[in-house]
Symmetry: C2
Subunit: 234 residues, 2 copies
DNA sequence: CAGTGGTCTAGACCACTCG
DNA sequence: GAGTGGTCTAGACCACTGA
C-alpha cells in the first residue's frame, strides 16, 4: 500500500479506514484490530494510528472503549456543524449590503417570563433592545434581546444606535456559554411589519441564551426574514 | 503551577489558555508565545502544547498559521454541533414511545423539480415514500422522501411497511454525504391533517439531500410536529 | 487481572509562509 | 531565508474496564 520512502500519515489511515467502512469490509459493529496491529499493517507507530482513530471517533464513525476496543458504529453519529456567524458576515456572505437599525433600547424590570427563564430575581433590571438587520434594504432579521444589567453593568452606558447589541456583547463579554434553539414561529402583526411579510407567515426563529460562568447574560430571539434557510454540509 | 511529580496534560494547557483569554490576559488578536516557549512554561514537550493549541483552534478560539504563529481570534468562531439522531432515538430520548406508520410507497418517474434538484435524467425512476413517526401516538414527524432507484437498486424490493426508509437507508447505504437545511414552512391541508394542527400553522422543517460518491441517493423533507424545537449547547 | 486505548516524552524532519 | 506549526518515530507508563 505504502511505497518505500513514503510515510504513512494519519490522513492516509483515516481515508483507508473510511473506505473499508464504506465498502463494507468493516461492517457496522465490527471490532477493528487494535492499534498495535494496525500500526504494523500500516507500518507506522501506534501514535499515528491513535490519532487517526481518535479523530474518526470524534467525527462520529467509530466508538472506542478501553479494553473493549474500537468498533464501527451501527448508525454513524453524523453531526451537523454550524458556524454561528455575526449577522453582518452572514449578510455579506450572501452578497448583500449590511445595514443596522435600532428600534428601541431601554432599561426596564425583567418581565416575569424572562426572570423565570434566566433565573433572575423578581423585577431585576434588564436592557431591552429591539433592532433590525437588513440585507441591501431587505429585512433580514429582527432581533429582540434582553441583557441582564447586573451581569454586564456597562450595558447602562452602551450606545446601540450605531452598533448592534450582539457586536457590543462580543466585544464586551467574550467566551460565554450559549444555548441555541431553532424553531418555527408565526409572524404576529408587529413582526410581519418589521419583516415585511403577511401576518401569520411562518418565521424561522433562533433563540440564544447566554451565560458567563453560570450567570445569565442575555436572551435573544432572532426572527429571520421570509425564505430564510439554514444550510450545512455534513 | 504544576506540582513536582504531577504531569502537565494537554487538558491543563487548554484550560489555562482559555482562562487567559477569558480574563483578558490574552486579548483578541494577541499573538501567543510559540509552542517551544509554552512548552518551557508548562514544563512539558512541544507535542503536548501542540495538541492543546490544535484542539483550541479546531474549537474556534485560536487561529494558527505556520511562521505567523498562534493568535486569539477576535470573534470566536463558535460552532453549533447538532448530532442528527434517528427519529426513533429522538422520540425515545424525549420519553415518548416510538411508533412508525407507512402512508404510501410507490415507484414513479421523478417529478421535474426533483430531477432538477438532484440532477437526474428526465423521468428517472424514484421510490416515493411518505410516512409518519409518532411519539406515544402524538404526531412527531411527517416524512416525505424520494429514493433514486438507479443509485439504490434494492429499493424496488424494499418493504417499508414496518421499517422507515431512513432506517433502511442507513443499513443499506451507509456513509453518504449529506446536505442539511432547516427552514420554517407552512402547514397545508395535507400536512395539517397528518400533524394534527390547524392549516396554516408554522412547521419546523428539515431537508436532507444525500449523495453517495457524487451520485444522488435520496431527498427527504421532514416536517416536525407542533412546538418542535431543536436545541444545542455550545 | 489482563488487554485496550489515553497520553506523555524526547527528538527529528518537514511544509509552509511571512518578511 | 528563517521561524513557525505539522507530523512522525520510538518508547514508556498509566487508566480504565470487560471477562
Amino acid at each position: 500500500m505504502t511505497q518505500p520512502g513514503e510515510t504513512t500519515s494519519y490522513r492516509d489511515i483515516k481515508r483507508t479506514v473510511l473506505e473499508r467502512i464504506r465498502s463494507g469490509t468493516w461492517r457496522p459493529d465490527t471490532l477493528l484490530p487494535n492499534e498495535q496491529e494496525l500500526a504494523v499493517e500500516f507500518s507506522c507507530t501506534r501514535t499515528t494510528v491513535n490519532r487517526a482513530l481518535r479523530e474518526l471517533a470524534e467525527e462520529g464513525f467509530l466508538e472506542r472503549r478501553r479494553k473493549a476496543g474500537t468498533r464501527v458504529l451501527s448508525a454513524p453519529q453524523r453531526q451537523a456543524r454550524f458556524t454561528i456567524p455575526l449577522v453582518r458576515d452572514e449578510v455579506e456572505a450572501g452578497g448583500g449590503q449590511y445595514r443596522y437599525a435600532l428600534v428601541s433600547a431601554e432599561l426596564q424590570p425583567a418581565p416575569e417570563w424572562l426572570s423565570a427563564r434566566l433565573q433572575l430575581r423578581a423585577a431585576q433590571e434588564v436592557m431591552h433592545v429591539r433592532c433590525m438587520h437588513y440585507s441591501s434594504n431587505t429585512p433580514f432579521q429582527y432581533e429582540d434581546r434582553w441583557i441582564v444589567a447586573e451581569s454586564v453593568p456597562q450595558v447602562a452606558q452602551a450606545d446601540f444606535s450605531a452598533t448592534g447589541p450582539n457586536d457590543w456583547l462580543v466585544q464586551t463579554v467574550p467566551f460565554t456559554n450559549v444555548e441555541l434553539t431553532f424553531l418555527a414561529s408565526r409572524a404576529d402583526a408587529t413582526l410581519a411589519g418589521f419583516l415585511d411579510m403577511p401576518e401569520g407567515e411562518p418565521v424561522f426563529t433562533a433563540e440564544r441564551t447566554t451565560w458567563l460562568q453560570g450567570r445569565p447574560v442575555t436572551f435573544a430571539k432572532l426572527y429571520f426574514g421570509a425564505g430564510y434557510r439554514m444550510t450545512t454540509q455534513i
